[in-house]
């Protein structure tokens, strides 16, 4: 993934669910290096918005445009009303960690991470050559002791950490995290906050939802208000 996003701009996003307007006319811009927390009451549409930005559900209204570093003059449209966002165009990637973190309980954290890595990165190195890097990522996530234990035998928080270990490896310039702090202990929360700051310092864009206010420098907040 060579391309880096310098500005992501959402214009007039809207969403309706079960005959209820969740949000409409939502505009925001995220610059490279920004960490943004999406706030809103339960049912305000936070997860829906994140899923549509990640390209899992179609945008119901509005459009999303990105500018790439070095090519700011030609903004690129990633998604428009009625279509799903297409992150894979021109080598952009998106790292999405949702409510369900995509960790298979029958596999070990290492196997899970390896599968995710292979899926998202073109890397011709053999599995054994990658293992060290992946182990380091899992070590960062606090799973040194359970790297080769099937996830079914790990606690909810440890399984969550196995999913979050992706943040130590991801090359994507946009990270979308849905409630990343759920089931994580106090040390883990600090660890994750520092990691997000480090990713932002590398010029990534981070969009997350959380019900507690993370202790992150220069945290931006966007409020999702119930429309009348």
């Amino acid at each position: 993934m060579s391309a880096k996003v310098s500005l992501l701009s959402a214009q007039g996003l809207g969403c309706e669910r079960n005959d209820r307007l969740l949000y409409s006319g939502l505009d925001f811009e995220l610059k490279a290096g920004e960490i943004c927390q999406l706030r809103g009451a339960n049912g305000a549409g936070k997860t829906t918005l994140l899923k549509s930005l990640a390209g899992l559900t179609p945008l119901q209204a509005g459009r999303v445009v990105v500018s790439l570093v070095g090519a700011e003059a030609v903004p690129m449209q990633l998604g428009v009303e009625g279509s799903t966002m297409n992150w894979s165009q021109s080598g952009l990637g998106c790292c999405f960690i949702g409510h369900r973190s995509g960790v298979k309980s029958l596999l070990t954290p290492l196997e899970n991470l390896l599968f995710w890595y292979r899926l998202n990165h073109h890397d011709s190195r053999a599995d054994s050559a990658l293992a060290e890097e992946l182990r380091a990522a899992l070590g960062w996530a606090g799973l040194e002791q359970s790297i080769d234990t099937q996830c079914a035998y790990l606690s909810a928080g440890q399984q969550r950490r196995a999913g979050l270990a992706r943040l130590a490896l991801t090359q994507a310039s946009v990270c979308i995290l849905d409630e990343p702090f759920t089931a994580i202990d106090a040390d883990g929360v600090v660890l994750l906050e520092r990691r997000l700051e480090a990713l932002a310092a590398e010029g990534r864009i981070i969009l997350l939802t959380s019900h507690h206010v993370p202790d992150i420098a220069n945290l931006r907040q966007i409020e999702l208000r119930q429309s009348a």
């Binding site: 390209g55 899992l56 298979k104």
Partner: protein, 223 residues
């Protein structure tokens, strides 16, 4: 290409970590067929003409039984979302998943068939025709089943709805497959029926992956 190998290896590994899922279909196949000589009649006059049809019906139902494992766990644990976000071609991933499903459910059924054919008194010279019809037909069952199981992801009573969607589309496969064996039994030409089965397989291989991919996208966006 390497991504597809990754998906195949991943799914094979998962299948072998929980063999119960596919042993289930095989066990059903064997048990259902052993019941016929016991429950109806062990006489040649019943078994010889019925054997091929019985084997095919049992194989079809065994496939149906195993369909819901195809995407259900991926949808529940969020793997499906990760597959979509990765931007890899979803139709190719779907094809790999169906291929693995066939290898762990359809192939064991075919391998078990010669044994059960002996038990059901199927004339030995018909066995090759039956096996070819199964080699051509059971992948079609898996491919069509994939569409049904992707469409019903996350629904309550998904199993029943999958069967309702998929069974009508299984009927042509069943007709041509058993038709081939019956023709061979009557001493007539049977390559026409096998050719139709081959055509069905080609058609399913070409179209089903796209249908499955579209159905998966809809399912993910709804849940």
């Amino acid at each position: 290409m390497s991504t597809l190998l990754t998906v195949i290896r991943h799914d094979m590994k998962l299948a072998f970590r929980r063999p119960a899922d596919f042993v289930n279909a095989l066990a059903f196949f064997v048990i259902a067929l052993t019941l016929f000589p016991l429950g109806v009649s062990p006489e040649d006059s019943f078994l010889v003409p019925a054997a091929a049809g019985l084997i095919w019906v049992a194989a079809l139902l065994a496939t149906l039984l195993s369909l819901n494992q195809l995407f259900e766990s991926d949808a529940q644990d969020g793997t499906l979302e990760q597959l979509l976000v990765s931007g890899q071609p979803l139709f190719a991933i779907a094809l790999c998943k169906v291929a693995v499903h066939w290898v762990v459910t359809g192939l064991p059924v075919i391998l078990m068939t010669p044994l059960l054919a002996v038990m059901l008194q199927l004339p030995a010279d018909l066995l090759p025709v039956l096996l070819v019809s199964m080699l051509l037909g059971t992948p079609v069952l898996s491919l069509i089943g994939g569409i049904g199981s992707a469409l019903t992801l996350g629904l309550r009573g998904a199993h029943i709805i999958t069967s309702l969607i998929v069974l009508p589309m299984y009927v042509p496969v069943l007709l041509f497959a058993t038709g081939a064996v019956l023709s061979a039994q009557a001493g007539a030409e049977f390559d026409g029926q096998l050719a139709v089965l081959g055509a069905l397989l080609a058609l399913a291989l070409a179209l089903a992956p796209f249908a499955i991919a579209a159905a998966l996208r809809i399912s993910v966006s709804q849940n």
